[in-house]
């Protein structure tokens, strides 16, 4: 549940898409969810899931489980990348596709992933009955959805903001579309893409852990992995095993980061668009090793040359296709037909929604879900406010000290990437031990993983704060509260908003696993929309799962539209000098 803001173009703010398109996309997605939810009940009966492998609690099995979990991450990233290159390219190049694809993406990224996990599990299990591939794909799909929307958005925005001079140079050299894609568009989008992939990592680990062990009604899924290991440990009330899982996961994240992401970030640095040399260049020992190893280079260089000449090949689409996808000049009749098609699609969705939802759900259900949503909203608001009060001063303190920031930043990023749901059992253990009220003490779990986004964005903001402003403030002896109010807080505000958007989106998502937890046979529920969805999932009550997801999506969309985007736009405008 990431978030993107409006694009700034010639000094004016442009909304990404007109309101009615958002509305239409919202209707379309929610209708799809509700209809799927209401019809899923018929699918579940004949499903026989594959024989489930036994999960052992021996710590020795953990490296293998961690490897399986990591493999899922890798496959999901590859799938996300493929999705990004196709979906975003189509959205950016075709005017007609853009009309549908962009608002759709916008809504999709507000839909709580753990909510529809139950549907996707059913879907994939039904696709490969009696085969482990089904649950495996469902888990991968959950990770995919936590990354793909962000990456696609980032790529789409890059494609739309390719610098004019490079665009003209490419056209004047008569690059083919294929050459242009690999020579100009992908390299230009690379830094944003890598950054967004990294930012969605937290979600990725979180969801892979959550999706490995899941019960939908009578269907019980246990995929070999760290998530299932923890689920087993919870069922057997084995706190030591939870501890081992935390260690194994930390190791996996560190290795993944060092072997995959550090090298990727260091390598992607050459695609930075600024023409000035950067003060600090990201480094990676793995990348250095690869670059220096001669033997390795000799082996890989033919491959690299092959890729390079593939990128240079003059492939291009047959011209007949251009008109069809709205590539060429505007055609009135085509546009009208396209609009007609969209309106017909929305109409059909609405009708289906009315028919199916009307049969299964009552207005009372809607009121219950909305009430639960209000409770979760209250929690998210209070927790984000608390996290702000705690982490903004600390972030500023750290950010203004370069040495400290350098040490703290990787730690904060690690904490953000660490799947907080692995820590839940520990918290639950203490809540039970000291007999604390679950309605209050389960709440902090929602921001356990996402609060770090606030921290590391504020640290980044304070580090980037111009030193002449600080010196000016010091020379005018601005201190105390005035220093915060007039100097520092406006300075870190845009960064804070970016962090808070991610944190609150993540908190909504996490509520589904944080508001209802268990320890052995003991079940704790804090109430709220997350608990509502979780409990309906366990009961296999699909229409109400769908309702819960729809209500939560609406809450998230409303929060984004009414609070975060205006704040973001305000922050951007206020802190620009020109």
């Amino acid at each position: 549940m990431e978030h993107h803001a409006e694009i700034l173009r010639d000094g004016r703010w442009y909304r990404q898409a007109p309101g009615w398109r958002d509305l239409a996309a919202t209707v379309l997605v929610l209708a799809l969810i509700l209809v799927l939810g209401s019809t899923a009940r018929q699918m579940v009966a004949p499903l026989g899931a594959a024989r489930q492998p036994d999960i052992t609690l021996s710590p020795l099995a953990l490296p293998f489980y961690a490897l399986r979990t990591t493999m899922r991450m890798l496959v999901a990233i590859a799938a996300s990348l493929f999705f990004t290159f196709t979906y975003a390219t189509l959205a950016a190049k075709s005017r007609r596709a853009e009309m549908v694809l962009v608002p759709l993406l916008d809504v999709l990224q507000s839909v709580p992933i753990l909510g529809y996990l139950s549907f996707t599990v059913l879907f994939f299990v039904a696709l490969f009955p009696g085969n482990e591939l089904g649950p495996e794909l469902a888990a991968i799909f959950a990770i995919f959805t936590s990354q793909a929307w962000n990456m696609a958005f980032s790529f789409y925005q890059s494609l739309r903001t390719v610098p004019r001079d490079l665009d003209e140079a490419s056209r004047s050299f008569r690059f083919s579309a294929w050459q242009r894609f690999w020579r100009l568009e992908v390299p230009f989008a690379m830094p944003g893409l890598v950054w967004n992939t990294m930012m969605s990592m937290s979600g990725g680990w979180f969801f892979v852990v959550a999706s490995e062990a899941i019960a939908v009604g009578d269907l019980q899924i246990n995929l070999p992995g760290v998530g299932s290991y923890v689920a087993r440990a919870i069922a057997e009330r084995d706190l030591a095993a939870v501890g081992w899982a935390i260690v194994a996961m930390s190791a996996a994240i560190l290795v993944y980061d060092q072997l995959l992401f550090r090298p990727l970030v260091a390598w992607a640095d050459k695609f930075r668009f600024e023409q000035t040399a950067a003060a600090s260049v990201p480094r990676s020992w793995v990348l250095d090793l690869f670059r220096r190893a001669r033997l390795l280079r000799r082996v890989t260089s033919p491959m690299a040359a092959g890729l390079a000449s593939a990128a240079r090949a003059r492939l291009s689409l047959p011209p007949a296709l251009h008109g069809l996808i709205g590539w060429g000049p505007r055609r009135r009749i085509g546009d009208l037909a396209w609009y007609g098609l969209i309106i017909a699609g929305i109409g059909a969705a609405l009708r289906q929604l009315y028919r199916v939802a009307g049969a299964e759900l009552s207005w009372g259900d809607v009121a219950v879900a909305a009430g639960e949503g209000g409770l979760t909203l209250l929690r998210v608001a209070v927790l984000i406010a608390l996290a702000t009060v705690v982490w903004v001063p600390i972030g500023v303190f750290v950010g203004l000290r370069p040495k400290l920031a350098e040490a703290a930043q990787p730690l904060a990023q690690f904490l953000a990437a660490f799947p907080a749901n692995l820590l839940f059992p520990v918290a639950v253990f203490f809540i039970l031990r000291f007999d604390l009220a679950p309605r209050i003490w389960l709440s902090p779990l929602m921001v356990l993983g996402t609060q770090w986004y606030i921290l590391f964005n504020v640290v980044a903001g304070a580090s980037a704060f111009p030193s002449d402003f600080r010196e000016a403030a010091a020379s005018f002896r601005i201190g105390g509260w005035r220093w915060w109010r007039e100097v520092m807080l406006p300075g870190v505000f845009p960064f804070y908003v970016t962090g808070a958007i991610t944190a609150s989106g993540g908190a909504w998502n996490a509520s589904i696993v944080a508001e209802a937890v268990s320890w052995g046979q003991t079940r704790l529920s804090a109430g709220g929309l997350g608990a509502y969805i979780a409990e309906r999932t366990a009961a296999g009550d699909f229409p109400r799962i769908a309702l819960g997801i729809a209500v939560m999506s609406l809450f998230v969309i409303a929060a984004n539209r009414l609070l975060w985007r205006p704040l973001y736009a305000f922050a951007e405008r206020r802190t620009r000098l020109d």
Partner: protein, 433 residues
């Protein structure tokens, strides 16, 4: 090499380009341009910013389609970017993720040459432009001058018949720009490149006179060819030559008379609301007034000399001079700028009196300022949204000019305390005093 009038390599016929106003009416930015780029010449295209000269270059390159008109390249209609036409960009337009060598080779991608052949041609272009030894550097490691050399090498590698240069030296410092110009002219004079004709877009008058065989002066709003000035000077040319200076002064006076004509014409239309205001801050105008009042000018100066002394280019000097002319603190006429009586008084006064005088002139000579003030006076609460005036202006000018005009009038009015502007609310208002 003297200007020999050969057959045209690129010919533009009756080129028009228009934008749509918010009301849907067309607003021309280029009108009826006829231009022939002859074989063997360097043709200058000189104009102020907003005259559409870069748009014209892009039309000649096939990057932008004109609204109407015809483009002929070697006698055949030009439909898009074509083989044999290369562009050098003001911003260099290098791919930051490619090395110098790869950047130069990228120019050859479309030709589908074998790898070895591409490498050979890239290498020879690099040698020609003086980039040898920099092949493996990334653009961000290079100075501006070296970056533009890569831009030249990338254009030369396709062995273009026509070279289109869009203010290629304007992003460089004075010394670097001069070195690059000289190097380019050496290659051109010694015929070391296959290029038959060059189109050079510039807003630097001396650069045009130094490099070109012929210079077209574009006027603004809409862009038209105002004059076609041959430069029959032998190369290498000397900037201090009398003949050189005479041509520079001639161009200044053409540009001045065009500016005056446009100010006069716009002032008459739509109660003066069509008057586009120049990008000139109060500080710049005050500085120019004080410079003009002091020695050696003592009240009057040739624009060419003034620009030289302040190391200003056309786009630096003209807006300020126009601002002073519109406010009647100074008078523009045939290439010179002269203080008016009010201008002399302004220079002598203290801050408060200066403000009062500026206030008076602003309300009297800038109809837009008077209009905004009147609207604010009439309104309950004395506030009005900026967008109201924005759309009013966009009926008469393109958005960019409307934006610039509103910025100028806001700055002037804030100084003169005619009205205030709140950017958060995007509202004009009358301050409480």
């Amino acid at each position: 090499m003297t200007a020999t009038a050969g057959a045209p390599t690129i010919e533009l016929r009756k080129i028009c380009r228009t934008f749509a106003k918010p009301s849907g009416e067309p607003l021309p930015v280029l009108a009826d341009i006829d231009l022939a780029l002859r074989d063997g010449e360097i043709l200058g295209l000189l104009g102020r910013s907003g005259s559409g000269k870069s748009t014209l270059l892009r039309i000649a390159a096939g990057l932008i389609r004109p609204t109407s008109g015809e483009i002929l390249y070697r006698g055949a209609p030009l439909e898009g970017p074509a083989e044999g036409i290369a562009v050098v960009f003001q911003t260099f337009a290098l791919f930051p993720w490619l090395t110098v060598l790869e950047n130069v080779e990228a120019g050859l991608d479309a030709l589908g040459l074998p790898r070895a052949e591409a490498r050979r041609r890239a290498q020879s272009a690099i040698d020609l432009i003086g980039l040898d030894g920099f092949q493996s550097a990334y653009p961000r490691e290079l100075s501006g001058g070296m970056r533009q050399r890569v831009g030249f090498a990338r254009a030369m590698v396709i062995e273009p018949l026509v070279l289109l240069m869009d203010e290629p030296f304007s992003a460089l410092d004075v010394l670097t720009a001069e070195t690059l110009r000289t190097d380019f002219l050496d290659l051109w004079i010694e015929r070391q490149m296959p290029t038959r004709s060059v189109l050079l877009v510039t807003h630097n008058i001396e650069e045009a006179v130094l490099m070109c065989d012929r210079t077209l002066v574009l006027s603004s709003n809409p862009g038209r060819i105002a004059a076609d000035i041959p430069v029959p000077l032998a190369r290498p040319r000397n900037r201090l030559d009398d003949a050189f200076r005479a041509i520079v002064d001639e161009i200044y006076s053409i540009l001045t008379s065009r500016a005056l004509a446009s100010i006069k014409a716009q002032g008459r239309l739509h109660g003066g609301l069509a008057q586009a205001l120049p990008r000139a801050s109060v500080n710049q105008m005050r500085g120019l007034l004080e410079t003009l009042a002091s020695a050696p000018y003592s009240g009057s100066a040739e624009l060419g000399a003034l620009a030289g002394a302040l190391s200003f280019e056309v786009d630096d000097l003209f807006p300020i001079a126009e601002g002073l002319h519109i406010l009647e603190f100074a008078e523009l006429s045939a290439g010179s700028l002269k203080l008016t009586a009010a201008g002399r008084t302004f220079v002598r006064c203290e801050t408060e009196e200066r403000k009062r005088l500026f206030n008076e002139h602003l309300l009297k000579f800038v109809p837009l300022a008077a209009h905004i003030r009147r609207v604010l006076d009439e309104r309950e609460g004395h506030r009005a949204p900026r967008v109201r005036f924005e759309s009013e202006l966009e009926d008469h000018m393109i958005r960019r000019d409307a934006e610039r005009t509103l910025r100028a009038v806001t700055g002037w009015a804030r100084y003169a305390e005619v009205f205030e502007y709140d950017d958060t609310m995007r509202m004009f208002r009358i301050g409480k005093r």
